[in-house]
Symmetry: C2
């Protein structure tokens, strides 16, 4: 199952690193605890819509761009998953 | 503030109606209570990543496509918001 929060976390971390920001800086900017942001980046916690907006604002990244990037990662994972499923079908039929 | 859950709700409802499905049918298919789905469609509740995957599966809609549609709606709203802000700046400067 492709989970939104895992790929969202990947995008948030990549965007933070692209800006050379530390977790501490994003935490201060977004007024969210460092530990919570870290859990979101690792895909372990769901981010509320308000938190998502704060994080995007702290990263100076439009929410639409962030969602587009997550969508692209999800699409990639969906294509890999469906390929695996097809391979499994072929293997089980053999 | 552009809230993810509100535009997600709009997309989920539009996709359900495009398929001519009732809340009851999506509820049975996704094994999620009807009231909860209704609240998600109205943007009143956050959907967990697992629930999002179930709803997309019930609607036979890839998660990536759903996120792309939400991203497009968010982008539209962001452009309207920034236009409004510019108009307000102009108005306050006049």
């Amino acid at each position: 199952m492709v989970l939104f929060r895992r790929l969202l976390g990947d995008v948030l971390r990549a965007q933070r690193m692209r800006r050379g920001m530390t977790l501490r800086e994003v935490s201060a900017e977004a007024r969210v605890s460092l530990g919570y942001i870290s859990e979101i980046e690792r895909g372990q916690k769901e981010a509320s819509s308000e938190l998502l907006a704060s994080l995007c604002s702290a990263l100076d990244l439009p929410l639409s761009v962030m969602l587009r990037e997550v969508s692209d990662l999800v699409a990639l994972e969906e294509s890999l998953t469906s390929t695996t499923s097809s391979a499994e079908v072929v293997a089980s039929a053999a």
